[in-house]
């Protein structure tokens, strides 16, 4: 029993230490960039644009597929159920609640974790084993500013754009697909949708996605950086970045949704 409690305590302490170390890591990355002069930012742009291309542009086919499937299912189910209840007017609210506020951010984050979180952790882990990170230090190039910060920023920009794209494809494409099975007039569909969407929904979606991006790419970079030199640590870092990334993103999205729900009730 004591051993169990002891292990539990140690595990909690380790997680707490990791969380503090992650926060310090994010702070140092930001500080390293703030210390650079504007003209020295040029090499960072290359890493930033590469990250946006890989995380944002290259994920479009997969995001399109998932958004179309999700949108279709949600539109079909909501129109069918609400027709039975005779309250089709609230369809807009349901779509906004489920797609823009909840499913858009979480599904986009999952795709980004699976594609880019693993890639970043693996790439940085491999860079550690090949002495590339150390080589940057020997050239007085701060890896946190050159390698980490552009990846975090590129990840945030990509995930925000991808989530916006997800919402558009899910709502428009979902309607087109669903309309084949359960016809709803275009004017009615977009009218109820326009009535339901508010600036708050976009603000919430933007906040959720931006913060998820920060979480995903900070964790992935942090895990990659923790590789101490042995190649077998690279897949471990990659796995950890996925597991910790999913847990953190789901916990954050859940907490924020609960907070907004409770706040709306009071």
């Amino acid at each position: 029993m004591i051993t169990l409690a002891d292990n539990l305590g140690k595990s909690t302490l380790n997680r707490y230490r990791d969380l503090v170390a992650l926060m310090v890591f994010i702070y140092l990355s930001l500080r390293s960039v703030l210390k650079l002069r504007v003209r020295n930012l040029k090499p960072l742009i290359y890493t930033l644009t590469s990250q946006i291309y890989f995380t944002g542009v290259m994920a479009i086919p997969l995001i399109s597929f998932i958004a179309l499937a999700t949108g279709s299912v949600v539109v079909i189910q909501s129109t069918a159920q609400l027709s039975l209840l005779g309250s089709k007017e609230i369809m807009g609210n349901i779509l906004v609640m489920t797609i823009i506020r909840e499913l858009g951010p979480i599904l986009t984050a999952m795709v980004v974790i699976a594609r880019s979180g693993t890639a970043v952790a693996t790439e940085l882990g491999t860079m550690q084993t090949n002495h590339e990170i150390e080589a940057l230090r020997t050239m007085s190039i701060e890896p946190l500013s050159y390698v980490v910060f552009p990846r975090i920023l590129g990840g945030i920009i990509s995930i925000v754009c991808l989530a916006f794209y997800f919402n558009c494809v899910a709502l428009i494409g979902g309607y087109i697909v669903a309309n084949q099975l359960n016809p709803v007039s275009v004017s009615f569909y977009f009218e109820v949708l326009a009535q339901a969407i508010s600036a708050d929904d976009f603000a919430l979606s933007l906040f959720k996605n931006a913060f998820s991006g920060l979480i995903i790419f900070s964790i992935a970079s942090f895990e990659g950086f923790k590789v101490s030199g042995a190649p077998h640590e690279v897949p471990i870092a990659s796995t950890k970045s996925v597991v910790h990334g999913i847990m953190a993103v789901v916990a954050f999205n859940l907490s924020l949704s609960l907070y907004i729900y409770v706040k709306a009730l009071t």
Binding site: K42, P43, S50, E123, H131, E132, T138, S140, Y146
Partner: protein, 227 residues
């Protein structure tokens, strides 16, 4: 950032430990300007650690590391930058950035430190041409041979025309035809580009003789002997 002119390097009773394991103890090394030093010693005698101490990657845990009489022990990594920009370093294995081409591996150094003048960029091309690898400059390191990678890593150490050159096992993995060019390049940098201190960790006696190098022996620490 402005580079500091390096006039002298002194290591006095220098020591370094990884936790409780002492890797270096009481190292006294004062390289003289114009001389080429070969660090030699048994495996685990701390040659690579000493090179990292000289580069300011590690801080000594005992003794003094002085450049121009200024104590380096407590300088942060950033504070050491003004000295490090005048120190060229090449790893024994690896060190090139794999998602950059050979040329970009040099260019990043110039871009990051804001060396804008065209002469720096043309100098890089001339360095690559001396080793006859300039036609491979737009390839990534994984697409060229080990010998080319090694040559590129050594040439990158010379890209900013440093006053201190530190090489770790330069001939290990280097194509035999590049060795005379390496010797010629070091001599040329000493004569024309103000290269003052050359420190090489290598057991290559031929290279040592060809460069007229002085040997500095490192001894295994008591921890390693008992292990």
């Amino acid at each position: 950032m402005k580079r500091v002119d390096i006039k002298s390097i002194e290591l006095k009773n220098l020591g370094f430990s990884y936790g409780a394991d002492a890797v270096l103890q009481n190292v006294n090394f004062i390289p003289q300007e114009g001389e080429i030093y070969f660090l030699q010693g048994p495996r685990g005698s701390g040659k690579r650690t000493l090179l990292k101490l000289l580069l300011g990657i590690h801080a000594p845990t005992q003794g003094e590391y002085l450049i121009n009489g200024e104590l380096m022990n407590h300088l942060s990594h950033d504070q050491f930058d003004r000295f490090r920009l005048n120190i060229g370093y090449a790893f024994d294995v690896g060190g090139l950035i794999n998602n950059h081409t050979i040329y970009e591996n040099f260019k990043i150094l110039l871009d990051y430190h804001d060396f804008k003048e065209e002469e720096h960029f043309s100098y890089i091309v001339s360095l690559l041409a001396k080793f006859k690898i300039d036609h491979l400059k737009h390839l990534r390191p994984s697409f060229v041979s080990t010998g080319v990678r090694k040559a590129a890593a050594i040439l990158r150490a010379l890209a900013l025309k440093p006053q201190v050159l530190i090489l770790n096992n330069p001939t290990q993995g280097l194509s035999p035809e590049h060795v005379p060019q390496l010797i010629q390049l070091i001599e040329e940098h000493k004569e024309k580009h103000n290269l003052k201190f050359v420190i090489i960790a290598s057991d290559d006696w031929r290279l040592c003789n060809q460069l007229n190098g002085k040997i500095h022996l490192l001894h295994a620490t008591p921890t390693e002997i008992s292990a």
